[in-house]
């Protein structure tokens, strides 16, 4: 028997796989379906204080190597999240739920974080990294240590008892430094990476495919960027990390855990393997652990740093 359960900021997950934010997270029923297919936990789509329309279609497409999206964080707002998503999911909670929140100003991050805590999520994930939604200067908050620290500070001030994890962008040269700046303001952990900047052009139409023109790049091609970012954050902070980006198989999960991830987010994976992929990935991890004498999955977290 392999013990696949992990502890993340005091929350117990039956296995390290979690649904990443932005995929399948529109309703409680969809989240439950993901858990039923094997995920150890789920993350909501980014929740705003108020309704956010998002971008018009096309909002996403994929190839064998990558996936591009610019949904624009469409959401019905906190009231719907509270009255519907959380109240229904929490009735008989099948697995821990991570509330992903987003805002367009530093003060609003404090407000949404405080409101979401009333919904009783297990963890609060603060999305300061979406490449499709920008601050007034046209860049994600997690592009600068100062902005990332300010958001962390205000969120930690408003949230009473729930661990706060900061979701970081890979579109920087100093992700370790940015993570450290968040730790100084009390961040309890991290999620990395959000998508990379990307664009695809339809050569026949001679224009970008996504209505938003540019989008967020995910899928198997970005795994090395994710592994590297997790490695840097782990080395800089030692805090729990949800490693995500291009993870498709059990072997991918083990790889990013060896870089330092404690939980592993999968989103785009469902494009390639369907929601059934969660169960398959867990099985693949378990088989590898059995073959390689790993009895407790926590043994492998960050193990590559010791080499």
């Amino acid at each position: 028997m392999v013990n696949l359960s992990v502890d993340f900021c005091g929350v117990s997950f039956r296995n390290p796989t979690v649904l990443a934010s932005g995929v399948w997270g529109v309703t409680a029923a969809a989240l439950r379906n993901v858990v039923a297919h094997g995920a150890g936990g789920v993350t909501t789509k980014s929740i705003w204080m108020k309704e956010n329309i998002g971008h018009r279609n096309p909002t996403m497409f994929g190839t064998e190597h990558y996936f591009l999206n610019a949904v624009g964080l469409s959401d019905a707002g906190i009231e719907k999240a509270k009255e519907e998503t959380f109240s229904e999911y929490n009735k008989e909670k099948p697995a821990p739920i991570i509330a992903n929140v987003v805002a367009s100003s530093i003060d609003d991050f404090g407000e949404i974080a405080a409101r979401i805590e009333e919904c009783n999520p297990d963890l609060i994930e603060v999305n300061i990294a979406c490449p499709n939604v920008e601050d007034s200067h046209g860049k994600p908050f997690s592009c600068s240590s100062a902005d990332a620290a300010k958001v962390t500070e205000i969120v930690k001030k408003r949230v009473k008892n729930t661990p706060v994890i900061i979701k970081l962008t890979p579109n920087v040269a100093n992700i370790g430094e940015i993570a450290k700046a968040c730790v100084d303001k009390g961040a309890d952990g991290f999620c990395a990476i959000n998508t990379l900047f990307g664009m695809g052009i339809d050569i026949n139409m001679r224009q970008p495919i996504l209505t938003n023109k540019s989008g967020g790049l995910s899928g198997p091609g970005i795994k090395p960027a994710a592994v590297k970012a997790v490695w840097e954050i782990y080395r800089a902070t030692g805090l729990p990390i949800i490693g995500t980006g291009g993870i498709l198989t059990g072997e991918d999960v083990l790889e990013i855990m060896m870089a330092g991830a404690r939980l592993v987010g999968m989103g785009t994976m469902v494009y390639y393997r369907g929601v059934e992929g969660f169960g398959l990935v867990v099985k693949e991890m378990e088989e590898w652990c059995k073959k390689n004498g790993v009895k407790n999955i926590e043994e492998i977290i960050g193990v590559a740093h010791k080499a």
Partner: protein
């Protein structure tokens, strides 16, 4: 690895022909080997406007049709296109209707739901099936495809229902279905009707399912929910409370499955995931 399987970029194709069906509906014909089956859909992209799911109204392997009713900005833009103009498509996507050789089918179409039902009838005739086609609309001018359906031959019997009684039965398609099933339906009926397929407003399809229950005939229906990606990623079209996706597990789903859903015939969700009751 089948690389093409994971490519959901668009094919760019030109409109070969446009047919005006009625005042608000046009059929766009594309000479392109889509390979769609009855009930399946495709995503259609008009650059700068939007990308929407559209059901396939006909596909013979050489050309396919999409019939579009003017209901919003995308369909209005489509109606402004000319022969030779190009659109982006990806598909065919989703599940399809299972037609068995020698089936006796009843097809119930409400409004532009006639498009995929026509495709079913077309295939069914090729497979030696008997078809009762119940076509409904608010009035006779909005009936879609009546001549095309009549042109399918003697194995297809057309029944018409209009809300205002301007042609055929005055009332609902479900009332005609009740009559057809009373005469032919169920295991004991003389017509051996074994399947009912329906496409139209969800409230109508739910009512069709209820009539089928009365005669113990199985029904399948084309679900329409707000979709973004069409390829099982965004979760926008997840059904309550199974969490299954209309784009992958549907759009064609059995009434045996759908009847258990709390949302069936009651509400749908918008692009932000908010509920709207019918």
């Amino acid at each position: 690895m089948n690389i093409a399987k994971f490519d959901s970029r668009f094919a760019t194709i030109a409109i070969s022909k446009i047919v005006e069906e009625n005042a608000i509906t046009k059929t766009f014909i594309f000479e392109y080997p889509l390979g769609g089956l009855p009930g399946q859909f495709l995503m259609m992209w008009l650059p700068g406007i939007d990308e929407k799911p559209m059901s396939v109204a006909y596909d013979d392997g050489k050309e396919f049709w999409v019939t579009i009713c003017k209901v919003g900005p995308f369909s209005e833009a489509m109606h402004g296109l000319k022969v030779g103009d190009r659109v982006g498509i990806r598909g065919p996507l989703g599940t399809h209707y299972e037609i068995g050789e020698g089936d006796h089918l009843v097809l119930v179409a409400g409004g532009y739901g006639a498009a995929p039902m026509y495709f079913v009838a077309n295939q069914a005739v090729l497979m030696g099936c008997q078809v009762d086609f119940i076509l409904g609309a608010r009035n006779k001018d909005l009936l879609l495809y009546p001549e095309k359906i009549l042109g399918l031959g003697e194995n297809v019997k057309l029944h018409i229902a209009t809300n205002d009684g301007s042609l055929g039965h005055k009332g609902f398609v479900t009332e005609v279905l009740d009559e057809v099933l009373a005469e032919n339906g169920g295991a004991k009926g003389k017509g051996k009707i074994n399947k009912v397929f329906t496409c139209g407003p969800e409230v109508m399809m739910k009512a069709v399912g209820d009539v089928c229950d009365k005669y113990k005939v199985k029904a399948w229906m084309s679900m329409e929910k707000y979709m973004k990606c069409g390829v099982g990623v965004c979760g926008q079209c997840a059904l309550d409370d199974t969490g299954d996706l209309v784009c992958k597990d549907g759009p064609v789903m059995s009434f045996d499955y759908l009847r258990k859903l709390p949302e069936m015939g009651k509400y749908h969700r918008d692009g932000q995931g908010k509920k709207h009751y019918f």
